[in-house]
Amino acid sequence: MPQSEAMVRVAGVVKEFGPLRVLHGVTFDVARGQTVAIVGRSGSGKSTLLRCIAGLESIQGGAIEVCGNAVGLPGSANRARLRRDVGMVFQSYNLFPHLTVERNITLALTLVKKQPKTEARKVAAEVLGLVGLMDKIAAYPEQLSGGQQQRVAIARSLALSPQVMLFDEVTSALDPELTAEVLAVMEDLARRGMTMITVTHEMGFARRVADLVVFMHQGQVWEIGPTVELFANPKTAEFTQFIGSEL
């Protein structure tokens, strides 16, 4: 697939919660291998947008395509297909507390991908190696620190070898030290060429790792552009103020 072809296409997306319109026609494309940081104030609609891309929310207008498959319209038939292509990591980790780290990872491999147990366990060991937690394979989530839980959650998504990974404020619940270990894993993924969309408050991470930055304001894409350019020449007062307050 050529580099220019969009992996994720978000076109004029409108999202309403009852009478409240939270996304007013959001449009942008993500190319294969790109790392995109979605930034903005709380309530700007960035998490909602990510949840729409993940297929967790229906949309009331516009279109979302992931790897050529439509997402989010009621009755989307290719939900299973979307699930294969998209991995999602949440702010609250959402590991399954009653299962070991290994079973957290192998569950979907055996149930959804129908892999034999031995093969699934091999994959689990592999992805845990990637996030540096091989020694926690038999632990339960409650025995891990927040940062470790989040790395397991990333490994759990990676195990299904998705085309796109979505990260929803994955370090917001962590202290700076634990944040650093999770961001290190994500930087590593970006370097390996994973297509990633990250909703984040970590401006340092956005500057360092993102190829493209999307600044959301009042449910719209207020500014969008290559990271260096955007931070060097903010065009709007809102973005100027936003990066000013982050420093």
Partner: protein, 215 residues
């Protein structure tokens, strides 16, 4: 006239076995019915939700005694003559199912919504979500209140005495009819009920403490 002696006490203890049998029937039947009702209550299908909550409302708003009368005398007059054990087992099952269904619905809904989302994002279908993610967590929450409710079932089996089923309460009446020592006889009956229920209460309380500690 007889006095309360070893024979009468043995008779009471033997009858208590039927109290246990009836409790087990009610619990087993109620568990199957209750699970179905709980799942129907949280179903995506509105008709199922309505049906289940309607059933639960009706049973919870009807005295168990009347349900017993209906299933023993009511069905009897319509030609479906049930033996007292079956009629009592059926009534208690209907009763326990409604309450367990409501208790368990609460436990299923108490599992965080994010567990649904996480398992959805991993591609699990709804059945797999229930079987591998939601219900195992709901069961842990459900154990303390469920054991607590078993105490209610044991005590409510005494109502089966009114349709002539000889369990512990009915046996107490029979012994009293021959000894005429109601205070002594029914104290013994009460003591046996207490011996059955107290361990369950203790277990419920211990399990509750344990599940709080685990959080």
């Amino acid at each position: 006239m007889n006095h309360l002696g070893p024979n009468q006490l043995i008779y009471l203890v033997l009858a208590a076995q039927w109290t246990i049998v009836l409790s087990l029937i009610a619990f087993a039947g109620g568990a199957v019915l209750g699970l179905g009702l709980a799942l129907a209550r949280v179903s995506k299908i509105a008709a199922l939700r309505l049906l289940a909550s309607g059933y639960i409302q009706v049973i919870q708003g009807t005295p168990l005694l009347i349900v017993l009368f209906l299933s023993y005398f009511g069905l009897g007059i319509m030609g479906y003559k049930l033996v007292p054990l079956v009629a009592a087992g059926l009534s208690l099952t209907l009763y326990a199912g409604a309450f367990l269904g409501e208790i368990w619905r609460g436990c299923i809904e108490a599992v965080s919504k994010t567990q649904w989302e996480a398992s959805d994002c991993l591609g699990l279908n709804r059945f797999q979500q229930y079987a591998y993610v939601i219900l195992p967590q709901a069961v842990r929450l459900a154990i303390p209140p469920t054991v607590g409710f078993m105490v209610q079932i044991v005590k409510n089996t005494s109502l089966a005495s009114v349709i002539g089923f000889v369990e512990l309460s009915r046996a107490g009446q029979i012994v009293n009819n021959s000894t005429f020592e109601p205070f002594v006889v029914f104290s013994c009956v009460a003591a046996i009920y207490f011996a059955l229920c107290y361990p369950l209460s203790l277990a419920a309380r211990a399990l509750e403490r344990k599940s709080h500690a685990a959080k």
